[in-house]
């Protein structure tokens, strides 16, 4: 079997690459309703996918900031969510059969009620066919 240097090839010769990349957008207006101390507020937006088994990288922006979402829920939220206080915010990505759900979860640990500031999160959803079986 021949050997190769992978830094010198364009395609992986070991597995198919991600293909059919396309970008969709979703917008979330953050719910400003009061969150009691100790509660978690959850809201989501849904992005349809053309195929079962789609893989996605998701980016979020809030004003001038844009960041990768798929590599860490808390890291992603900390870069785009405008905090009221010390609440814990996460952005989580869930895959349905023909939909991708983007969740914002805010846990109020501040000792009193909070109301998240009005803000708009824009999600750029980059979808692919990935070399994994049907989800």
């Amino acid at each position: 079997m021949p050997k190769i240097r992978l830094d010198q090839v364009i395609f992986s010769t070991l597995h198919p690459a991600y293909l059919n990349y396309r970008t969709d957008e979703a917008i979330m207006e953050v719910d400003t309703s009061s969150i009691p101390d100790g509660d978690t507020m959850e809201q989501n937006v849904v992005v349809p996918t053309p195929k079962v088994g789609t893989r996605a990288d998701i980016y979020a922006s809030n004003g001038t900031v844009s960041t990768l979402v798929s590599s860490g829920g808390r890291a992603a939220a900390s870069a785009v969510y405008t905090y009221t206080s010390t609440e814990v915010a996460r952005i989580d990505i869930e895959y349905g059969s023909y939909d991708i759900y983007i969740y914002l979860r805010i846990t109020n640990n501040t000792g009193g009620p909070i109301s998240p500031p009005a803000q708009t999160l824009t999600f750029s959803v980059v979808q692919y066919d990935a070399p994994i079986s049907t989800i």
Partner: protein, 238 residues
């Protein structure tokens, strides 16, 4: 005029690399019996190991589930609060489980790291049946403009440092980054301090990312007091 002068019209071109997949794994494990516990000064995590067969780390992309039906991204949590992430070293891929009980399902895709070091080892080539090697042109392949690595200096107690990678695109591109919170381990970005489940040791760095029209910033919170690396890929919007 060459088609490569209009890159947006080309599904695939040899001028730009695309991500190279070197391994795909699917399965499940018992979190109580199949994981090892890693304990640091902050807490413990539970890791399931998969031998990846390369002689240096790989980038990993994780989907995970607790029932085999509802799947979430690596780094994301299920509504019940459990979460998971994956990373690698030169021998293994590690899936971090957020509890030590129950079953976890996974789909792991591993990518070659062009900029890991200067060794560029030879790997076994594969010659598949030509009928299995389809170039699907429904949409584009995502093409890599920049594939670079950089380092950050030693620091402790959450000392911040911005690793800035400039680009010339003039718009906010797609980008990915990984970093080295422990020597020799390649992790996806994760941060959040005391609310970051994956932070289990006082010598473990954190990082997140901001993308601009002229640069990508990896914001590092340093704990390791060691020189470590970040890897950034910037993609063409074409």
């Amino acid at each position: 005029m060459s088609l490569t002068d209009n890159i947006q019209d080309v599904a695939f071109t040899s001028e730009y690399n695309i991500d190279k997949v070197v391994g795909v794994w699917e399965g499940n494990f018992d979190k109580a019996t199949d994981t090892e516990t890693r304990t640091g000064g902050i807490g413990s995590i539970y890791v399931y190991k998969i031998v990846h067969g390369q002689d240096r780390p790989v980038f990993t992309d994780l989907l995970w589930s607790e029932d085999g039906n509802n799947w979430v991204d690596g780094g994301s949590s299920l509504s019940g609060g459990n979460t998971s992430i994956s990373f690698s070293d030169s021998e293994n891929i590690y899936i971090v489980a957020s509890s030590a009980s129950g079953t976890q399902w996974f789909k792991i895709i591993a990518f070659w790291i062009n900029e890991y070091d200067s060794t560029n080892p030879l790997v076994e080539a594969v010659t598949p049946d030509i009928k299995d090697r389809l170039l699907d042109g429904d949409d584009n392949y995502q093409k890599i403009l920049l594939d670079v690595s950089s380092t950050y200096s030693p620091g402790t107690f959450s000392t911040p440092e911005t690793v800035s990678i400039p680009h010339s695109l003039g718009y906010i591109p797609n980008a990915k980054a990984y970093f080295e919170p422990f020597s020799g381990e390649v992790w996806p970005l994760n941060a959040g301090g005391i609310s970051n489940y994956f932070l289990y040791d006082f010598a473990q760095d954190e990082a997140y990312m901001k993308i601009y029209s002229d640069r990508v910033d990896v914001e590092v919170n340093k704990y390791s007091n060691d020189t470590r690396k970040v890897w950034v890929k910037v993609y063409l919007d074409a």
